[in-house]
Assembly symmetry: C2
Homo-oligomer: 115 residues x 2
């Protein structure tokens, strides 16, 4: 059961930005606050906040509340959705060559029969 097309749109679009990919990679190692996520970047906090909103809207992250902190959490499901789409295309691609191989074996077989 593949995820919806517009979900894929927003997920791939989110992953197209290097800052956002770095945030995702950071969150794969564990939850973090906005300030922690912002630290490695030469970018204003509102800039990071915008990126987080993009990631949240496509479901790649979720945010809870802890006092005045809003810890971010990576949601694997959205990541899986994107990976699944690519995997499906690669599967179709591979099948094509499997069939080609099979065909070539059939031809080989015929040749053997006639020898």
């Amino acid at each position: 059961m593949a995820i919806a097309a517009d979900q894929l749109d927003s997920t791939f679009a989110a992953l197209a930005d290097p800052t956002r990919r770095a945030i995702v990679a950071r969150l794969a190692r564990g939850d973090a606050t906005v300030n922690e996520l912002a630290a490695p970047f030469a970018m204003s906090l509102p800039g990071i906040s915008k990126h987080l909103k993009v990631l949240e809207r496509c479901g790649l992250i979720s945010r809870s509340r802890n006092a005045q902190f809003r810890p971010c959490h990576l949601e694997r499901v959205a990541l899986d959705g994107a990976a699944d789409w690519i995997e499906e295309s690669r599967r179709i691609w591979s099948e094509r060559f499997d069939k080609l191989d099979e065909h070539l074996r059939d031809i080989q077989q015929e040749g053997d029969d006639h020898d």
Copy 2:
């Protein structure tokens, strides 16, 4: 050996468009000309041509020449690059929980020792 960041930028950006994903999915089944690729879409040919240029620039497709046709061919390497990035994040994520499991087993072990 991961692919370059800006290559990932453009690959994910290319995959963020549903028309382009459909084109990629179509090409996974086999090469096709521009007109063949355009057929399923309610879009002008130059529009499709632009999408193909986007796909070509990020390496997802290549084009050869055959008379006045320019058959498009899916390049799996770029698709692999994107899949690899996602896979790496998922791996890091999983390791985290593996370590957590290990830790929980250690605690359990200690408990057993003291019982």
